[in-house]
């Protein structure tokens, strides 16, 4: 389980998070929505200890992340897969080497045969052909880079998956492919996921619950249906501005949701 308890974070005078609390249950997928620059990625980075809160606590798998030492944090991170906004692939390494780095168990990491098989398995899970393994990141399209980033994140068979804007910068077709992938990994691997996004449509598709981060605070949390039905002016403003409500409602109806 992931818990954020009254988290505060500021960078100089800029207050990013102010008393943010959120709970992500085991096996659940929560989408963290909000406009650009509202602190979604900061929240995600606090979950795996890349940033520390100024106040409050972050608990992952029963461990208080801000209090963890170097070794404990590395151990916890081996259970967390992190998909970065722009892939964050290592330019000088091939796709296979990038994915191999995601294998966090040292014994497995040093076993050539295991790594080779695991890399191919991860490529298959993200719908990429085995030939991609020998390519360099510079030879891949934006969508393929995202998928390799996801493959690297799942290579270590994590318990938690954190997605930072998995569909940003992609055309609608590729964004749909990535959303489908997130959905499929949730179902196949049964991981606990947090998806940070400002793409409302995709988030509503993949998430069990949605949290709206608005002006440094969590403004609304709940299942997609409940958020869509919200009368909160901030929620409405966000949804109306970014969401293409009609399309979502139409899709919701098409998928049998009570929207």
């Amino acid at each position: 389980m992931i818990e954020l308890l009254d988290v505060h974070k500021r960078f100089l005078q800029n207050v990013v998070l102010e008393g943010v609390s959120l709970e992500v249950k085991d096996g659940e997928t929560v989408a963290l929505l909000g406009p650009s620059g509202v602190g979604k990625s900061v929240t995600l980075k606090m979950i795996n200890g890349l940033l520390r809160p100024d106040l409050g606590d972050v608990i992952v798998d029963g461990l208080h992340v801000p209090l963890l030492g170097r070794k404990e944090l590395a151990q916890l991170r081996s259970k967390i897969g992190y998909v970065f906004q722009y892939g964050a692939l290592f330019d000088s390494m091939s796709v296979a080497e990038n994915i191999r780095l995601g294998i966090t168990d040292e014994t497995c990491y040093n076993d050539e045969k295991f790594c080779e098989n695991r890399v191919l398995e991860c490529l298959r899970l993200v719908n990429l052909p085995p030939e991609v393994a020998t390519k360099l990141p510079a030879e891949l399209s934006g969508g393929m880079k995202k998928r390799v980033g996801i493959a690297r994140a799942i290579a270590g068979q994590p318990k938690y998956l954190l997605y930072d804007e998995p569909t940003s910068g992609l055309d609608p077709v590729n964004a749909d492919v990535i959303d489908g992938l997130v959905e499929r990994l949730r179902d196949e691997l049964g991981v606990t996921s947090v998806v940070v996004s400002h793409d409302v449509r995709g988030s509503f598709r993949v998430a069990d619950r949605v949290a709206l981060l608005w002006q440094a605070k969590i403004r609304a949390v709940g299942p997609p249906d409940q958020i869509l039905a919200s009368k909160d002016p901030a929620v409405l403003q966000f949804l109306e501005r970014d969401l293409e409500m009609t399309l979502i409602q139409a899709e919701g109806v098409a998928r049998g949701r009570n929207v």
Binding site: L50, A74, F84, Y86, A88
Partner: protein, 266 residues
């Protein structure tokens, strides 16, 4: 705050702000160095990467280092001839050229050239990795960026730069001799006599120690600045410029300090 606004601050506040910033840098730099010492235990990670870095940095820098050393040797030789001809015995030229190269020109010029070449490379590489979240990605995979990225670069520099300096010394002396032979008519016997007369084996150690200290400065400072880059492409540019300038200034300051210490030791 804009530059204009900063200029209107009282001098006391400016000094206080500068002091705080310097203390912040000093603290973070110290922690990074401590992290590097701690990371040395993970030798399985950094040793193979060090060899790659050493090959890239050493082999790639050899030509420019030898070129600069050759010109330095030639100019030293010509100036020695200009100043000393008729005033001192000709064999003194051998002493001046070899001692200048070994004690000063070889280590300092090599370090300054490499501050531009290696320093800029390290800062730009690490800065780009920082702003494209590759360093965060490494950390998020439970792997230490210090062992994977910083230690190999610093150790490669510490191994390669003193070696390059020795090559530079040799090249400068040989080119200096050839120039003196052409312009002053200095014989090999005279040159060798002069060079041997003032040479002490300890001079080579001084040269190596000096270049080792310069290597430490010109690798750790760019690594620190690149590793802490912020604000995208502009930040990478700023870090790269700062790395070259800071490393060059540090080399010149270290040169003064070490020369004083070495002369006292002599």
């Amino acid at each position: 705050m804009s530059n204009g606004a900063a200029l209107t601050l009282g001098p006391l506040r400016l000094v206080a702000r500068w002091s705080l910033r310097t203390a912040d840098h000093a603290g973070r730099f110290s922690f990074l160095i401590a992290d590097m010492f701690r990371g040395l235990a993970e030798w399985r990670i950094w040793v193979p990467r060090t060899l790659d870095q050493a090959t890239a940095v050493g082999y790639g820098s050899l030509f420019i280092v030898l070129l600069v050393a050759g010109f330095a040797g030639a100019v030293t030789s010509l100036q020695t001839g200009y100043q000393f001809t008729g005033a001192l015995p000709l064999y003194y030229a051998g002493a001046v050229i070899s001692e200048s190269m070994i004690l000063e020109l070889g280590p300092v010029l090599t370090a300054l050239i490499l501050a531009g070449r290696i320093g800029a490379r390290y800062a730009a590489e690490l800065g780009t990795m920082r702003v494209t979240e590759q360093i965060d990605a490494l950390e998020s995979l439970g792997r230490s960026p210090v062992s994977h990225l910083l230690i190999p670069r610093v150790v490669a520099g510490l191994l390669v730069i003193p070696a390059l300096t020795m090559f530079a010394n040799a090249t400068g002396i040989v080119v200096g001799y050839l120039t003196a032979k052409g312009s002053l008519g200095l014989t090999y016997g005279d040159f060798e006599y002069g060079a041997r007369y003032f040479f002490r084996p300890l001079d080579l150690w001084y040269s190596a120690i000096k270049s080792g200290c310069f290597a430490a400065a010109l690798t750790t400072i760019p690594c620190y600045l690149g590793f802490n880059t912020q604000q995208g492409a502009e930040g990478v540019g700023r870090a790269t410029t700062q790395a070259v300038v800071s490393a060059s200034v540090a080399i010149l300051m270290l040169d003064a300090v070490i020369t004083k210490l070495l002369l006292v030791a002599k």
